[in-house]
């Protein structure tokens, strides 16, 4: 315990939440310059071009998918869900960090959230967009997706509310809406700043429209604070609810390996785990690219590392309990499934996920690792892969080895499975690039507030 405190103190010394020597003006200049004045770095163009190519790949594969049908994927009977659902869960998981950082850490008065919440939220939105694509595309008849919504249909029938998929529709769409509002409201004061600092007419007009007449009057600030706090309160339960509902997609089913009460908590933990991993994966290159080391300091990285370590341990516990319950239940199907995971045709995936999600992140116990951007970056990447594998093992292996041996089968992704997946990654990155180019990726006014607090004490 004691040395834990020493460590944190040490960390404080290593890195404050904002490097000294900054004035309100310098902060504003530095951040708004990225959008308004500074020339766009070459890396940006390169990155944007590459990720946009992937977007084109996505468009191509989606077109082909809609023309020919989901049969272009590797799915079959018994494994009727493949990449699509794996990716959906994966993206949704990633989409958790933003709101968590913004809302929960805000309510917890965590100062270090200030510099990362903005793009974490943006990332959340983009991840949820990518996630949202999959439930749509994986439908046999996507053009009837609206049948999942309650609307005045001429068929005189409504969606079937016992189905977790309907809950998904509501959970995800609510989550997206709230996260979007939260992000947007947070942006308003900065948009106003940009409006006022922009030179050319069009940017001023555009930012002005978005700023919705923000003048920074006391009353504006007052309302803003209330609204932001309310939204934070609203968003907090969603962080937990969304992935809980997503986990219901599996737990409601009686497929061995799905039908388990541990899923909700361990899905949420896993979501935050992968979410933070993704934040790190983005933050580390970004701060390098735009030289934001004094806003996104080692302190931030270290804290995120710690959150990852914590959630990672919860996830590990989840794996352990899965194994234990399947043995303890005495249910032959559950037992066989656990055996199939470890020894079956997909065993390499199972072991790989343990290495990526449990073994490697143990390095985070070491302070030097937690404070080394490179190490964190590598670990974050590992966790991203690991979490994807976890979903693959849950979805595919369980279906491949269910109740009747006669109907056991196997699944493997086709080129189109991979195309759609990488396509969404491209979409995600493209949106990220556009975001950092057009909007302040760090909340200007909150940084100034932070500076104020820092200089006060």
């Amino acid at each position: 315990m004691a040395n834990e405190i020493d460590k944190t103190l040490a960390a404080e010394e290593i890195a404050p939440v904002i490097e000294p020597g900054h004035t309100y003006a310098s902060i504003t200049d530095k951040i708004s310059a990225i959008v308004l004045t500074r020339p766009t770095p070459r890396l940006w163009y390169l990155g944007f071009a590459l990720s946009f190519l992937l977007v084109l790949l996505l468009l191509v594969s989606c077109t082909y998918l809609l023309v020919v049908g989901v049969g272009i994927w590797g799915i079959n009977i018994p494994v009727a869900w493949g990449f699509a659902i794996v990716n959906f869960v994966w993206w949704i998981g990633i989409g958790h960090a933003g709101t968590l950082i913004s809302a929960i850490l805000l309510l917890m008065r965590q100062k270090w959230r200030q510099s990362i919440n903005r793009f974490a939220e943006a990332m959340t939105l983009f991840a949820v967009m990518c996630a949202g694509l999959f439930p749509l595309l994986h439908l046999g008849r996507p053009w009837y997706f609206y049948w999942l919504f309650p609307y005045p249909s001429t068929m005189g029938v409504q969606p079937q509310f016992r189905s977790p998929l309907v809950w998904d529709v509501f959970a995800v769409s609510t989550y997206f809406t709230v996260s979007f509002l939260f992000w947007y409201v947070g942006l308003i004061p900065d948009l106003a700043t940009l409006r006022d600092r922009a030179r050319k007419r069009f940017p001023r007009f555009a930012y002005g429209m978005l700023a919705m007449g923000w003048r920074g009057s006391a009353i504006h600030w007052h309302r803003y604070e209330t609204a932001y706090l309310l939204l934070a309160g609203l968003a907090t339960p969603l962080v937990v609810s969304v992935h809980t509902v997503v986990s219901f997609d599996f737990t409601i089913g009686l497929v061995p390996g799905w039908h388990s009460t541990i899923f909700p908590p361990y899905f949420v933990a896993g979501a935050i785990y992968s979410g933070f991993a993704m934040v790190l994966t983005l933050a580390i290159p970004l701060r390098k690219m735009y030289g934001l080391e004094d806003f996104i300091t080692l302190r931030h990285l270290k804290n995120m590392g710690e959150v990852m370590l914590a959630t990672g341990m919860i996830v590990a516990y989840g794996y352990m309990m899965e194994g234990f319950t399947s043995w303890y239940s005495g249910n032959p199907f559950e037992r066989y499934l656990m055996f199939a995971r470890m020894r079956g045709p997909y065993h390499y995936m199972f072991w790989a996920l343990l290495v990526f999600n449990v073994l490697i992140p143990q390095a985070l116990w070491i302070l030097r690792v937690r404070t080394s951007p490179l190490a964190l970056f590598i670990i974050a990447i590992c966790v991203n892969i690991g979490m994807w594998l976890e979903r693959y093992v849950i979805v595919v292996v369980s279906l491949a080895r269910d109740f009747l041996p006669s109907s056991w089968g196997m699944y493997s992704g086709t080129m189109w499975d991979y195309a759609v997946f990488t396509g969404t990654i491209g979409l995600f990155l493209t949106l990220m690039f556009v975001f950092v180019r057009l909007l302040p990726m760090i909340s200007i006014f909150e940084m100034r507030g932070l500076l104020h607090d820092e200089t006060e004490n």
Binding site: P152, S153, T154, M155, G156, D196, G208, G213
Partner: protein, 215 residues
């Protein structure tokens, strides 16, 4: 520096925010309405037919029973479209040389069928059986409307599933005594009371399981 937005834009922004929500609702409502409009459903839209056949004339003026032409309505899923022969049974005698009936005579001469334009049409995945409806006391007029008042045949109802369900969910609101099924201008004084009696009398059941109509 000068503001590029006039004060009024504040109001604009407020209006557009709340207006936006209203718009969504309005669109859904509009879509729902259009879906049920004759423009899409063809309700009361008369179709051009090779012969300007008037049900009104044949049913109310001549008093011909539905079953004279729609022969299989009590026995089969398909009510049956009269063969040219049935037309000629009368029209070889009356109006034997009316130019209006030339297509009929021509068909009978050459053996080429008359191509009527279909008025009531269900999608292929719906299995409707006339005979059981007729036997359970669903009147022709209940679905086809007052055919005896239609100079030109047109659809009386949308044939949408929600419309089918109106009756399948509450048959007592529509059923009538078997003997009144083909009676065009039958009215119940207290439909609900009678309906409930008939529903139990005719053992009307199995109405809202999907497989009753879809298989």
């Amino acid at each position: 520096m000068a503001q590029i937005f006039h004060r009024s834009t504040n109001t604009l922004s407020r209006v557009s925010i709340f207006g936006g929500l209203g718009l969504v609702v309005a669109l859904v409502a509009a879509a729902a309405a259009i879906n049920r409009a004759p423009y899409l459903t063809d309700v009361r839209v008369a179709r051009a037919q090779p012969v300007q056949f008037s049900h009104k004339h044949h049913v109310s003026d001549d008093g011909i029973d539905c079953r004279y032409c729609h022969t299989s309505v009590e026995r089969s899923a398909f009510a049956g479209i009269p063969s040219t022969k049935i037309c000629m049974n009368c029209h070889s005698q009356i109006w034997a040389d009316s130019p209006m009936l030339e297509p009929i005579r021509e068909s009978f001469r050459t053996g080429r069928s008359i191509e009527w334009t279909r008025v009531h049409n269900l999608p292929g995945f719906v299995y409707f059986d006339h005979s059981i409806h007729v036997n359970k006391g669903v009147g022709c007029a209940t679905c086809h409307g007052r055919v005896d008042q239609m100079p030109l045949m047109s659809r009386e109802n949308t044939l949408y599933m929600e419309w089918c369900l109106e009756c399948h969910r509450a048959p007592e609101r529509f059923v009538r005594p078997r003997e009144e099924v083909f009676n065009m201008n039958w009215r119940a004084e207290d439909q609900l009371a009678l309906g409930r009696k008939l529903v139990s009398a005719y053992k009307i059941q199995k109405l809202t399981s999907c497989s009753v109509c879809h298989h």
